[in-house]
Point group: C2
Chain length 261, copies 2
């Protein structure tokens, strides 16, 4: 059974549940994978203010409480659709709580699954750009593991990052968290500028490193540069884990992964 | 907290979660309503074979077990996105179990909320058509309550019902439960024929009375006849219930309902 700790933001959780369903090679209702989406935005404090030191309430506690409820319902593999929540101060505590509370579920990482997906799908890529919140960049959530995996990591200049990326995610009038259905033209155009800057810096592929970004940039590539959607990578990994032991689906999933990594 | 017993089929559950989010007048992540979607297709036996007497396993038991888990997580208002599950042999037992198990959540009915929505939005309508599975029609799931509410109820002729409606929902190659993303042309065209027949029989509005149908007929009206999406009606009702007591959202929801019922 798949578990999704949603609500960070709410659309990102739904997007992961949708991609799990879309990418599952099911032919009948009963072949779709059991999935519980817990979208509880008010229970989980905002990640960025905690990382900036503006509050001492670590969102890891609420995330771990929800993982506990999912574990209790029978969830065996889970994911947290929020890249900022994968920063060390939050994710280290989540994993501590998983151990302390004796949870049996396996928690997949958006960062590790995204890097594994790039290695499988773009074996020639060496320089990877990241678009993400300023908090994610400050904590090296994507860049540190990319460098450890042997990639060169590039991010936007600070002016572009603060005005064209972070603001596009958070702005209360045109931003993705406020108004992503449909995404505003302004949001999309500003992010395209940021993609062009990363491309000019030599990125062979660009990670849409905030789960809201694929809502604004849904295309597989932009001006020749592949855009990597971590939610797609994690959906494939969740399906892979959730189908182990189910001979019929397992064979279909393996064939699908071999054909379209 | 909103609970959704999904998996019947899986896309219908996701569709309800998506509509709840889309219709919530939220301006920030934290204003979105806490929602748990439990999409567990394998745990719930298919509804139609039980209603046809081909198995004695009432899907009500699995549905009630899942409602119990949602209640335990703190869900206060829930819905079951499957019109066929609202037939008396299933829904009566679900309500018995809710009482026996002492659940505190309120379960909204797709049938009652859809009829209330038609009364609010189309006060002049007197004859209502229903498109649904043959099992739903045989048990009068929609037609009996429509007649009790003072409407004339019309359904398709049996040939049209069996070949163009039921088969379009269930067929393993082109049907909605197998292949709804995107919906096949054949599925959409056959359902349009059925809509035309109900319109010719005098329907002032047509209920898309199987939660898969709005995936194939997403438009608000077809050839001048309003198409009623029960999932839209239930999403509005869930939002209404879940925001009582939250002064800010309550006022916005009331204004929204007054402006666009």
């Amino acid at each position: 059974m798949i578990g999704i700790v949603g609500g960070m933001g709410p659309r990102a959780g739904l997007d992961l549940a949708h991609k799990v369903m879309e990418l599952t090679p099911a032919q009948h209702d009963h072949e779709h994978l059991p999935t519980v989406l817990a979208s509880l935005p008010r229970r989980i404090p905002d990640r960025a203010p905690y990382l900036r030191g503006e509050t001492s309430v670590n969102p890891a506690e609420a995330i771990a409480d929800i993982l506990g409820q999912l574990d209790h319902m029978g969830v065996t593999v889970a994911a947290i659709p929020c890249v900022t929540a994968h920063s060390a101060p939050i994710m280290t505590r989540v994993h501590e709580r998983i151990r302390e509370d004796g949870l049996r579920l396996k928690l997949l990482s958006f960062v590790e699954e995204t890097i594994a997906y790039i290695q499988r799908s773009y074996p020639a890529a060496s320089c990877i750009g990241s678009l993400s919140t300023t908090a994610t960049i400050a904590f090296g959530v994507l860049t540190k593991p990319l460098v450890s995996a042997g990639f060169t990591a590039v991010v936007c200049d600070s002016e572009m990052q603060s005005r064209f990326v972070n603001e596009t995610i958070y702005d209360h009038t045109y931003g993705l968290k406020a108004d992503a259905d449909p995404v505003t033209d302004r949001a999309r155009e500003q992010l395209q500028q940021a993609v062009r800057q990363l491309s000019a810096k030599g990125a062979d592929a660009i990670i849409l490193g905030c789960t809201e970004l694929p809502l604004a940039l849904p295309e597989a590539e932009f001006e020749g540069v592949p855009l990597i959607d971590p939610t797609h990578a994690v959906a494939l990994a969740l399906i892979h884990h959730a189908t182990r032991g189910d001979a019929l689906l397992e064979a279909r999933v393996d064939a699908q992964l071999a054909a379209h990594p």
